[in-house]
C-alpha cells in the first residue's frame, strides 16, 4: 500500500480548509463546518491539534490575521493548504479511486471507468 502519510480525519480537515478558503479557515469555523457536514460533534481542541500536526507535516501553513470585534479583538489563525498538501490530497484521492476500480462489486457502476 502506498504510504499517504495522511489520516482519514486529517484528510477531511484539510478538505474543509480548502473549501472554507482564505477568510474562513480557522479552528472554530472548521470545527463547525465539520459538525454540519458529518453530524458528528467535535471539540475545537481536537481540530486544532490536527491542524497543528498537519502544519508540522508541511501540508498546511498558517498566519495570524485580522482581529474582529465578535471575538473580543483577538486575532485568528488562518490555515492555507500548501503545494505539498495539495499533492498529498490528490495522491490520496487517486489511490482510493484506484482501489474502487479494483473492487469488483462496484467496478464500472460508479462511473469511474474511463
Amino acid at each position: 500500500m502506498i504510504e499517504t502519510r495522511l489520516g482519514d480525519f486529517e484528510e477531511t480537515v484539510m478538505l474543509i480548509v480548502g473549501i472554507l478558503g482564505d477568510a474562513e479557515a480557522y479552528a472554530f469555523r472548521i470545527a463547525k463546518a465539520f459538525e454540519q457536514r458529518t453530524g458528528r460533534s467535535i471539540s475545537i481542541g481536537a481540530v486544532h491539534s490536527t491542524l497543528d500536526r498537519l502544519e508540522t507535516k508541511g501540508f498546511v501553513r498558517s498566519s495570524l490575521k485580522n482581529a474582529t470585534s465578535e471575538r473580543g479583538d483577538r486575532k485568528k489563525r488562518i490555515f492555507v493548504i500548501t503545494a505539498l498538501g495539495k499533492r498529498v490530497l490528490k495522491e490520496s484521492m487517486e489511490f482510493k479511486v484506484q482501489l474502487w476500480k479494483e473492487y469488483p462489486a462496484f467496478a464500472g457502476k460508479l462511473g469511474l471507468t474511463e
Binding site: K32, G45, D52, R71, K75
Partner: protein, 858 residues
C-alpha cells in the same frame, strides 16, 4: 474562570487565537441554546484542549540532561549506602508487603480462573432444586433422570444443549488381566459440545451403547503405544469397546478427574432406569444445560421451576421441588446455599484474602512513606545547600522522586525474588499448583506501573514540601516540620496497628474454632478404627471365620460389616412413620445398616434400652435411634415403640448417644440404625490397642485379601478421614497466621524505623535530662509513651471491628465456639508488648550514651 484555567496550561503563543475561537463558539452557542449550555460547552472545549501539543512546557525541566539523571541516581545510591539501616528497613518492609500482595493475587487469580477453559463458560448451567421440608428449604444438586427429556420436550427453546450426567466416581476397569480404578461418568451426547470434548483419535459413539471414550492419559496408561481404538474393557460387569480418545480436561475444571466417558444409553441399562416404578422420585443424577442465544439464567430458571413438581404424585409434591439453574461462573466460587438462597462459598475467602492482601500492601506503603517523611526532616539542610548553590525547585522534586522510585524498584526486585522462593511453600499450604506468570506482559506492565505509583506517593511529601523551604531558615537549622506533618504519621501508625490487631484476633479465633471442632464429643471412639471398602460376596460369606481368626490372633477387638464408613452417611429416608407423628412433619432420617457387631466395634454409648444382640432373633425387625431421632418421637420412653419404614414395622430397642458422622461443625442429624445381614459395602475393624498397628494391619490383609477375589484391597483410618474434614479451616488458619505474622513484622519494621528517628532527634534532650538526674526507666517511659498511646488507640478501634467480622464468620457454623473475651485482651496486650520491645531497643541504646558525648558542641 474557565479562561483562567485555560491560560494556566495553554502554550503562550496559542493563547490569543484559542481564546478568540472559544469566545466565538460561546457566542454561537448562546444564539442556539441557553446560557448554561453555552457555559458548559465552553468548559468542555477548554478541557478538550488538554492535548500534548497545546500544553505549555514546565519551566526548568527542559534543560535536564542525562547527566543530571545520572547525578540523581548517584545521590540516591549514596543516600542509601549512608543510611544502611534505614534503607534496609525500608526496602525489606516494602518488599515483604509486595511479595504478600503478589502471592495473594496469584491465589485469587487461580481461584477465579476455575472452569474458565470451557468456551461456553458464561452460558453453561447445572440444574439444582430447592426442596422444602418442615418449612426449611434445602438445596440439592441432584435431579431425577426424566428431567432431561422433560426439559428438552417442553422447554427446548430456552436451551441449546441439555445433557443428563451420572455422578463421577471410581469404577474398577479390567483391561486384559490388569485391573485399574478410574473415575469417570456416563452422559448424554449433548455433553460433548457442551464441555468442548475434543477427540484426538476415533469418533464420538453414535449407535453402539457399549462404546466408551477414554482420556488421552488413561489410554496411554492402559494401552501404551498400541492403538486404543476397538480395545475391550470390562467395567461394572459389562464389556465396553473403546470408540475414541479425548484430550484430558484442564486441571482446574469441574471434570479434571474424568478419565472415561460412557454413554447414557448404556448407563440406563446398567442402572435399570426404565424399570424404576417411580422415576421422578430418586434424585441421583446431574443435569447440565447451555442456554440458547438471548436467554438468561434468571428467566430460564423461572420457566423451568415446576418441571419436576408437575410430574410428582401428591405425596411427593408436598416438598415443592423448584428447579433452577446454577451458572458455571458460580460453580467454584458460590456453591453454598442456605434457605434456598445462594450464600457464597469460596468467594468469601477470595474476598477475605483480597482484603488482607490490600491491607498488607497498604501497610508496607504507609511505612515506606512514614519513614521517608520522618527522615526528610533531617535532609532539610541538604535541601538548603542545594538551593543555595542554585538548584531549581523542579530539580529537587525530580531528585526526591527518583530516590523513592529507585527504592521502590529495588524492593520490587526483592519482592519478585521472595515470591519465587516462597511460592512452593505457599503452594503446599494452600494445596495449589501456582506459578509465576513470567511470560505475561500485562503483569510486568502493572508491576512497573504500581512501582511508579508507590514511588510517587511515598516521595510526594519530601519532594513537594521540602523542596519549597527557604534555604536561609533551613541552613540556620531552624527548620522543623510542624504539627501538621506529624498528625498524618500518627494516623498511619494507628491504622497499621489496628490492622495487625484485627489479624491477631482473627487468627486466634480461627484456631479456637478448629480446636472446638476437634474437641467435640463424637459419640464413639474414632481412634483405632479401620475401614476396608468394596468387600466381595466371598468376604461376606466368610464373615464369621474372618472375625473369629482376627480376634483370636489379637489383631482386632471387634469388626462389623456396614453400609457406610463411620465418617459419612450413604443413605437417608423420609418415609419413616410412627403412631402420633404430626402429618405435616417431613423429615429425612439418616439410615445406617450394619451387622450385629456395629455398636461394639464403634464403642458407642447406649443411653436407653440395649444394643443389637444375637440372643434376640426378633432383632432383624428392630431399630436403634440416636438421641436426636428420639427427640422427634416426642415420647418419654421410646424403647418398645414401633417405627414404620416404608410401612414395614420395626421395634425400637435402644437409644444411643449422638454420633458425629458428618462435618465436625454440622448439626447432628436424626439417625436410625438397622440390622442387615446381607452383603454390605464396608468392613470396619476396631484394632487391638495392645498390638502394634503394622502387625494388626498385616494380619487383617492376610485374612481378608484371599477373599477379595482380585478386587483391590485397601483400608482407611477413620481418625485420618475425620481429620481431613478440618482441611478447609486448617488451611485458612495456617494462611491467616502466616499473613498476620507478616503484617506484624511489617508494622514492627515501621515502628522500629520511626522510633530510631525519634530517639535520634531527641538525643540532646535526653542528654540534658540525664545531666539533671533522670534515670533509665524515666527516659524509657518518656520515649515510649507516644507510641503506646497510639497503639492503645488502634486497639480500641480494632477490637469492635474484629468482633463484628468474627461473629459474622462464625455464624456459618452450627457448632461454633463462643468468642472468649480474653482473646481481645491478649491481642491488645500482645500488640503492646511487641511495640514496647521494638521501641525499647532504640530508647535504651540512646539513653545509655554518656551525656558528655551527646551534649558537646559539634
Amino acid at each position: 474562570m474557565a479562561t483562567k484555567a485555560l491560560r494556566l496550561f495553554l502554550r503562550e503563543d496559542l493563547q490569543e487565537e484559542v481564546i478568540g475561537d472559544l469566545k466565538e463558539n460561546f457566542d454561537y452557542d448562546l444564539d442556539v441554546g441557553s446560557r448554561f449550555r453555552a457555559r458548559l460547552n465552553y468548559w468542555k472545549q477548554v478541557f478538550l484542549y488538554l492535548r500534548p501539543f497545546a500544553i505549555r512546557k514546565l519551566k526548568g525541566t527542559s534543560n535536564i540532561s542525562t547527566a543530571m539523571y545520572k547525578s540523581y541516581f548517584r545521590a540516591a545510591m549514596q543516600n542509601m549506602v549512608k543510611n544502611k539501616l534505614h534503607a534496609f528497613i525500608n526496602i525489606l518492609g516494602l518488599a515483604t508487603g509486595i511479595a504478600v500482595a503478589f502471592v495473594i493475587s496469584l491465589w485469587i487469580y487461580d481461584e477465579v480462573s476455575y472452569n474458565r477453559n470451557f468456551s461456553h463458560y458464561e452460558r453453561i448451567g447445572q440444574a439444582f432444586q430447592n426442596i422444602t421440608a418442615n418449612g426449611e428449604v434445602d438445596t440439592w444438586n441432584n435431579v431425577p433422570w426424566p428431567l432431561g427429556n422433560e426439559i428438552r420436550q417442553h422447554y427446548g427453546t430456552d436451551f441449546r444443549y441439555v445433557a443428563m450426567v451420572s455422578h463421577v466416581y471410581p469404577h474398577t476397569m479390567e483391561v486384559g488381566s490388569e485391573k485399574y480404578s478410574k473415575a469417570g461418568l456416563f452422559c448424554e451426547p449433548d455433553f460433548y459440545p457442551l464441555f468442548d470434548v475434543t477427540l484426538t483419535k476415533g469418533t464420538f459413539p453414535v449407535k453402539d451403547p457399549s462404546a466408551i471414550l477414554l482420556s488421552e492419559s488413561t489410554a496411554i496408561g492402559f494401552f501404551g503405544d498400541k492403538d486404543p481404538i476397538g480395545q475391550m474393557i470390562n467395567m461394572d460387569g459389562q464389556s465396553f469397546q473403546v470408540g475414541g480418545v479425548y484430550r484430558d480436561f484442564p486441571q482446574r475444571s469441574r471434570w479434571a478427574d474424568v478419565f472415561f466417558i460412557g454413554q447414557w444409553s448404556k448407563f440406563a441399562i446398567i442402572a435399570e432406569l426404565e424399570k424404576m416404578d417411580d422415576p421422578w422420585r430418586p434424585n441421583a443424577f446431574e443435569m447440565y444445560v447451555m442456554l440458547a442465544d438471548g436467554v438468561d439464567f434468571a428467566s430460564a430458571s423461572t420457566r423451568i421451576k415446576d418441571a419436576r413438581l408437575k410430574n410428582l404424585s401428591a405425596a411427593l409434591a408436598v416438598k415443592k421441588p423448584e428447579i433452577f439453574l446454577h451458572a458455571m461462573p458460580d460453580w467454584h466460587l458460590r456453591a453454598e446455599f442456605s434457605g434456598g438462597k445462594q450464600t457464597g462459598g469460596l468467594i468469601q475467602y477470595v474476598w477475605m484474602f483480597g482484603i488482607v492482601g490490600v491491607f498488607v500492601l497498604l501497610m508496607a506503603c504507609i511505612n515506606f512513606m512514614n519513614l521517608s517523611t520522618a527522615r526528610s526532616e533531617k535532609r532539610a539542610k541538604e535541601v538548603g545547600i542545594r538551593k543555595a548553590i542554585g538548584s531549581y525547585r523542579s530539580q529537587l522534586i525530580t531528585q526526591f522522586f527518583s530516590e523513592s522510585i529507585l527504592t521502590v524498584f529495588v524492593s520490587l526486585a526483592l519482592a519478585i525474588g521472595m515470591t519465587y522462593l516462597l511460592l512452593p511453600v505457599f503452594n503446599a499450604l494452600a494445596e495449589k499448583d501456582m506459578r509465576l506468570p513470567w511470560g505475561n506482559p500485562l503483569i510486568w506492565v502493572s508491576v512497573v506501573g504500581a512501582g511508579i505509583v508507590i514511588g510517587l506517593l511515598a516521595g510526594s511529601y519530601p519532594a513537594l514540601y521540602l523542596s519549597s523551604i527557604r534555604p536561609v531558615g533551613a541552613l540556620k537549622g531552624a527548620f522543623k516540620a510542624g504539627r501538621g506533618a506529624s498528625l498524618p504519621r500518627k494516623v498511619l501508625v494507628v491504622v497499621q496497628f489496628g490492622v495487625s490487631a484485627v489479624m491477631i484476633i482473627g487468627t486466634t479465633a480461627v484456631f479456637l474454632q478448629i480446636e472446638h471442632g476437634r474437641n467435640r464429643p463424637l459419640g464413639y471412639r474414632v481412634n483405632g478404627l479401620v475401614s476396608v471398602p468394596g468387600i466381595t460376596k466371598d468376604v461376606h460369606d466368610h464373615y464369621d471365620v474372618i472375625r473369629k481368626d482376627l480376634i483370636d490372633n489379637g489383631a482386632i477387638v471387634e469388626l462389623t460389616e456396614c453400609i457406610a464408613p463411620t465418617v459419612g452417611s450413604w443413605g437417608s429416608s423420609s418415609r419413616i412413620d410412627w403412631n402420633g407423628k404430626d402429618p405435616d412433619l417431613s423429615i429425612d432420617f439418616t439410615v445406617f445398616e450394619a451387622s450385629y457387631e456395629y455398636g461394639k466395634t464403634l464403642q458407642w454409648e447406649v443411653v436407653q434400652g440395649r444394643d443389637f444382640s444375637r440372643d434376640f432373633p426378633s432383632d432383624s425387625a428392630a431399630v436403634i435411634l440416636n438421641e436426636e431421632a428420639a427427640k422427634y418421637l416426642d415420647k418419654e420412653h421410646v424403647v418398645g415403640e414401633t417405627l414404620r419404614s416404608r410401612t414395614i414395622p420395626f421395634t425400637v430397642i435402644g437409644v444411643v448417644r449422638d454420633i458425629v458422622f458428618a462435618g465436625p461443625y454440622d448439626p447432628v442429624r436424626p439417625s436410625l440404625y438397622f440390622l442387615n445381614k446381607d452383603q454390605l459395602n464396608f468392613l470396619t475393624l476396631r484394632l487391638n490397642p495392645q498390638k502394634p498397628v503394622a502387625a494388626s494391619l498385616a494380619a487383617i490383609e492376610a485374612a481378608i485379601k484371599p477373599h477379595m477375589k482380585g478386587e483391590p484391597f485397601s483400608y482407611q483410618f477413620m481418625d485420618a478421614e475425620h481429620a481431613r474434614k478440618f482441611g478447609n479451616e486448617q488451611r485458612v488458619s495456617t494462611l491467616a497466621s502466616v499473613f498476620a505474622g507478616l503484617a506484624i513484622f511489617i508494622s514492627c519494621l515501621g515502628i522500629f524505623g520511626l522510633s530510631s528517628f525519634v530517639a535520634e532527634q531527641r538525643t540532646k534532650e535526653i542528654g540534658m535530662r540525664k545531666v539533671l538526674g533522670a534515670n533509665l526507666s524515666q527516659l524509657w517511659i518518656l520515649l515510649s509513651k507516644d507510641f503506646v498511646v497510639l497503639v492503645i488507640i488502634s486497639c480500641f478501634l480494632a477490637v469492635p471491628l474484629a468482633y463484628w467480622i468474627l461473629q459474622s464468620w462464625l455464624e456459618s457454623y452450627t457448632y461454633r465456639v463462643a468468642l472468649p473475651w480474653w482473646i481481645f485482651l491478649t491481642a491488645t496486650a500482645g500488640t503492646l508488648v511487641i511495640t514496647m520491645l521494638t521501641v525499647s531497643w532504640h530508647v535504651i541504646r540512646v539513653a545509655r550514651v554518656s551525656p558528655a558525648s551527646t551534649l558537646k558542641i559539634e
